[in-house]
Symmetry: none
Subunit: 202 residues, 4 copies
DNA sequence: TATGAATGAGCATTCATTCAT
DNA sequence: TATGAATGAATGCTCATTCAT
């Protein structure tokens, strides 16, 4: 006599539907932007009716917000995973990767869309701000950490300054990704391996 | 005594109207984005009827294009004017300046909007690409130039790599401007003066 | 037991909607002309929202084209059905009939509208041209056919000339219908029965 | 001390302006139809400002009405001039002539436009009706007239019937002119010379 | 749960007409 | 007399959202 066996299954299905919708929406948003992608297109991509989407999301805005949250979470994880001495290499390898995305992965053009939307939607602005803080802290933390802990062993003030610069560089790279997807990888790798260490050197 | 005094006056007035429209449009686009700002709002902001706008611009698209061109031109001028040994200081001083804009000045959030739009509109993508090339060349040129000519005296390959990184940093800074308009100036200035020289050092 | 009962019903409904729209549009076009009738009026006449119409027709132009095709098809059928020795009588009886139309019937004033539109819209011009050819061929064929086959047994060149004149007369009659809907039927009948045989006599 | 010498000159000038406008309007209406031709285009064609037109005509409708009146007058004159035994030849020669028009001449496509407009505008309908009556009377008169007076010497009832048919044929020809401007002239001439005499024969 | 037909407010754009100059 | 800038209502059309089924 399980409490609500039906409900559990239903909940799983509901979650699957939400995922289906978000997958479709992300795909559409990347291709057409938040405003350019209509609910009809998203529904078609998700292989369901437009009406059904509203059972799982309150509005198109809610879908956008969900995608924003998720994207920022993925980006946060990325930073957490990649802040170690090989950082330049990782940055170069990530460049342009999203296009080969399966499932929902980060997308530079989505970050652009999100940044643009944040200048109008305070809710998105808040989420983005939260993300910014996390990233900056993660970078600063890495730069401060002892070398044997994989850090750069910089002192507090120094780390603060360089974390800021590093963050700008990382985001500038994301922006570049959307504009110059075919950028020469060897050049990029060489540039990062040449310049980033200089930025972080004591 | 002038050949066609009426026509001259008329032309001046026409130009004033165009300016009036572009001012209003820029204001609206910054606040609501290219798609979020309707012709009605632009007209109201410009204090004229919506129909009148079409005497001066072929379409909303044409207004967007005009603003894009102008913004990119302003950015190009900025780079041309500021590539000299004091570059870090200049970057820090420029940060957040547009908000105190009189007339039509650069706007970081517009650059964002432009970048996002470029992923869909090939015409805007082309303009942005042209801008990118100009900037990269200007930076590379500066880095290659002799020290006595105000340059950094780097050799070609080196300059190419660092120009790319510099461009990413600069654009990352513009992005940051839209998200953190209140960023501590002293921190920013210190960070740039600390890190940029390291990026460019031989 | 049907394979997709839902879809069949839906398709039937969709067809009904298309019909509803075409009925309304035809009514509006007759009363106000292709340009004079706005989508709002058509929607109101069809008792639906303007937006809904676009689920069934791509554009106002598409509606016009659909009506043109249909009208020309009805006219073609008419010619095919009526080319026999009693032609004069039939012409007289058809005169003014459309005004008592139920469902969508031919309308002389629509033919006028179509002819006028054809001078600008090449697609409509092509359709009208096709119709013209069909009619002329049908007439010529009838005039050439043997008497025992219901024809007029004229030789080829003769038939060509008289088909042309007959076509002009028939269209002149349609024109007259729009201008003089109350024309004395007895006069018309007498005139046709007197003159048409003379036109076709060997 | 002439009464109002200024006024006379002014009146002449005013009349010239009206003519100028009507010339331009006719040209535009033939090319784009009554609704397709905008006041801006007419003004440009007349080489004057849009506003000035309103000093000479109350509205666009008034221009249309003026053109209608004039066209119908020209058509009336044509019928009066051409109702004589050579009628078939004249009809054939007139076919397609308007395209070589200088000044303001009849235009088959204008007649079409007028007929279409008449189904909506009662004022135009009345003018067209008046024209119809004149034409029918002229034809009937010609058919009744003695042979030595250039007529066809038919009796009254006969003439009435044949005038109606002739009118239909004539208008059908005008319609055909708009659809088949390149119609083989020899065929047309032969057809008219073959068929019209039969229509009028005693 | 799922559909997709239906709505209605909103969009960019056009155009006959007016009016300050 | 003449201009053409300016208006504003109307146009065809789109799209997020709702709702009967």
């Amino acid at each position: 006599m399980s409490a609500r066996p039906r409900s559990e299954k239903a909940e799983a299905r509901a979650e699957a539907q939400r995922t289906r919708i978000l997958d479709a929406a992300q795909h559409c948003f990347i291709e057409h932007g938040f405003h350019g992608a209509g609910m009809a297109l998203i529904a078609e991509t998700a292989q369901m009716s437009a009406g059904l989407i509203y059972r799982y999301f309150e509005s198109k805005s809610a879908i956008i917000r969900a995608i924003v949250e998720e994207q920022l979470e993925l980006l946060r994880e990325d930073i957490a995973r990649n802040t170690h001495p090989d950082f330049p290499t990782v940055l170069a390898e990530e460049y342009g990767r999203p296009h080969q995305c399966e499932g929902r992965r980060m997308s530079a053009s989505l970050l652009l869309e999100i940044s643009a939307e944040a200048t109008r939607d305070p809710q998105i602005a808040a989420a983005l701000d939260d993300y910014d803080t996390t990233v900056r802290n993660a970078l600063q933390d890495w730069l401060t950490r002892a070398r044997e802990a994989g850090g750069m062993a910089l002192d507090g003030e120094d780390a603060r300054r360089r974390a800021l610069m590093l963050q700008c560089l990382i985001e500038g790279l994301k922006l570049r990704e959307t504009r110059e997807p075919g950028l020469d990888r060897d050049l990029l790798m060489a540039a990062l391996q040449d310049v980033v260490p200089r930025m972080l050197d004591r």
